[in-house]
Symmetry: C2
Subunit: 412 residues, 2 copies
Amino acid sequence: MPEFLKLLPPAAALQRFLQALPDDLQTQSERVKTQDALGRALAEAVTAPSPLPPFRRSTVDGYAVRAEDTFGASASQPAYLKRIGEVQMGRAADLALRAGEAVTVHTGGMIPDGADAVVMLEDTQSVAQDEVELLKAAAAGQNVLLAGEDVKAGEVVIGAGSLLRAQEIGGLLALGVTEIRVAMQPRVAILSTGDEVVPPEAEPEAGQVRDVNSYTLSALVERAGAIPIRYGIIPDELDALRAAARKAHAESEMVLIAAGSSVSARDITADVIQELGPPGVLVHGVALRPGKPTILALCGGVPVVGLPGNPVSAMVVAGLFVTPVLRRLLGLRGPAWPATLTATLAANVASVTGREDYLPVRLEMSPEGLLAQPVYGRSNLIFTLVRADGLVRIPAEATGLEKGERVEVRLF
Amino acid sequence: MPEFLKLLPPAAALQRFLQALPDDLQTQSERVKTQDALGRALAEAVTAPSPLPPFRRSTVDGYAVRAEDTFGASASQPAYLKRIGEVQMGRAADLALRAGEAVTVHTGGMIPDGADAVVMLEDTQSVAQDEVELLKAAAAGQNVLLAGEDVKAGEVVIGAGSLLRAQEIGGLLALGVTEIRVAMQPRVAILSTGDEVVPPEAEPEAGQVRDVNSYTLSALVERAGAIPIRYGIIPDELDALRAAARKAHAESEMVLIAAGSSVSARDITADVIQELGPPGVLVHGVALRPGKPTILALCGGVPVVGLPGNPVSAMVVAGLFVTPVLRRLLGLRGPAWPATLTATLAANVASVTGREDYLPVRLEMSPEGLLAQPVYGRSNLIFTLVRADGLVRIPAEATGLEKGERVEVRLF
C-alpha cells in the first residue's frame, strides 16, 4: 500500500508534535493537601526538612548494647551484661549506656547513647531482673537504623515532575510535609463532530448514531490526570465547527476534535484547526492502523489533536498522541512505563508493511501460559475494545505476526 | 531459615483467605449515571436494548451498489451505473436501489435498500451528473457494516462483575444505556497502632515518628476502587485497640490494622482480631519478605488484615492480600491482569530458600534494553519505595536471582 509511504510513522509524528510544543507548556501550579494529592504531578521539588528516621531506631525487640561487649559471645560462652533499664516506645532514651551495660529496646524504639548494636531477644536469656545473658555476638550497627538512613535533612526527596503514588504520599507525610505544590489539572476540550451523531440520551432516528467518542475520550483524559470538558456534538459544517473550536481553544489547555469520518468532514476539521493559530497543523495523516487520518497541531501555544471518528481509532490515537502531551502539560518527567504483559499470540495475524498496526487482544490463561487472542472487529465497532484487554503493536516493517510468537500486550 | 518452613507460602495464605470469605461478601449496588462510572464495577449484566449499529452503514465514502452490477469491472473495462441520488449523513436512505443503479454514500452513512456493497470513491469516476463509472468490482458486503455487527439486540454486552473502562462507558452510551447499577464502593477501615506514632501534622518528640501507613494504605485502597476511612493512631494497648477495632468492624466492609512492629504490639493485634468474631484468625505469619507478620482473618463476615508496621512491608502485604479481597467486595470477576514489564536484572540478588521475597527495583533504559536496578533499603524505609518503580518476586524455591536474568517487574 504505497499510500502509507507518504505518511509519517507514529513515532516520528509524535516526535514532531512534542518538539513543537513550547517549553513553558506546563500548567500553573496550586497548593494542595498532601493526603489529597494521589495521582497528581509534583510541581516543585521537596527537600527533607529533617532526617528520617529522626533518631537511631532498633529494628528488633532486644537489648541495646555496645558491640564490643558482645564479642565472642555464644551459646556455650555467653556474655553477661548489666540491664540498666528500658526505652519505652515513643519516649526518648533518657539513659546513657556504659561499658558492660544493656538496655531493653523494642522494634522501632530509640537506641540510647553509648549503644551501637541491638541483640535480638531470641539470642538472649534473662538471668535476673538486672542481668542479661547474650548467646550471640553483635556487630557494630547490627539491628540499628541510623538517623537519616532513609533520607537526610536537606536532601531532595521527590523531584519536580514526579507522579505522586501511595509511597510518595506516605513519604511526604512521614517528613511532616502536609501541603505541596502540584501542577493544576489541564482542561482538555473535547468536541465530537458529525451530522449523524446524537447524544446518548436521545433516541436515534434512521441514519443517526449515538455519540461514543466524547465519553471514551473523557475517560482517557480523566485517567491521565486532566479535566475533560465536553463541548458537545458539532455539525459537519465549517462555521459551526469554527465557532466551537475557537471557544474551546480559548478556554482550554488542549483541544481534541473527534471528526466525522467522511472525507469532507475531515477536510473541514483540518481547515478549522489550521485557522486556530500558528503554526497550525504539524502532521496530517500517520502510517497507523487504526488511526490514519490523525491531525496533530499546535495553534497559538495550544496543542490540538484531530482524531478519527471511529471509536476504536480514536482510542488508539488518544493513547499514542494525547497522553504524552498531557504528561507535558502536567510537567511529568521521566519515562512513563507502559503497563504491559508478555503473552503468546494465539493466531496468525496479517499486516501491511509500512504501516504500524494495533491489534486488540483478549488475554486468556492456558496450561501453556498466557495467550493473546486477537479480537477481530472493524475500528467502527466500540465493542471490539470491550471484548479486549489490550493492544498488540505490529511494527511497520512486519508483514504480520505468527501464532506462537511472544508479544507484548499493552493493557488498557 | 527453618522458621519459614512453619509458615504458609503467600499463594496458599491468600487461597485460604479467599476460600473462607462468604459467597455473599459483595457490597450492595447502586444506580449511577454511566458517564460517571469510570473505574466502577458493574453489578448487573447489561443487555443491548437495540442492535449496534442500528442500520447498515458505509465504512467509506463512495457509491452504494448491487455487487452483481459491478462484477468484472476494472480500469480497462469499467462498469457504468445510473446515479439516482445521495444519502445525507444522519438521514434515512429514503430511496431503494434497483439493478444498474448507484447512490452516493458517505462514511458512516446509511446504506439504501437494494444495495449490498459500496465502491470507494477512489475506484470510481464521475462521468455525468447521473452516471458513475466503476473501475473496480465489489464483493457483496464490501465496505458495509451490517446492522447488529457490533452487538445484537438482546445480547449481553457487558457481564456483571466487569470493571468499567473507557470503552465500556462509550459502548454503554452508544446503546443509550445512560444509567447502570454498580457495586457500592466498600468502606475500608484503616487503623494504625503504635505508642511512638504521631499524626503527620505533629512535630515528633524524641522517640516519636509520624504515621505513614494510614496514608499509603488509604491511597492503595482508593486506587482499588474502595473508600478508605482512617480511624487514626491507636495506642499499643489492649483496651484501646479493642474499642477502636470493634467500632471499625461495625462500620466497615473490611478492616486493616497496621500494627506496631514490636512483638507485644503484634500479639495484642492478633488477640483483638481474634475477638472480633468467628472464625477469627485464619493465617498468622506468611513465608514472605517483607511481610512475615501478616494476619489474615474473617470476623463475623468482615475480612480483617493485620499488616506489619513497617511501611514497605505494609504496602507489599496490601498488594498481595488486600487488593484481591477488595475485588471480591466489588464483585469483580475474571482475572486482574497485573501490570508488569519484563526487564533484565542489573545485579545479583541473594534470597533465602523457603521464603518468597519482593525486591523493589528501579527501571532504567539502557542500550541493551530495560534494566531492573535493585533498590536496597530496609523495609522500615518508605523512601526505598519512592525510589522504586515496581517489585520483582523472588520465588520461594530460589536462592536468589542472577545479574542478567530476565525478570517480571510488577509496576506499582
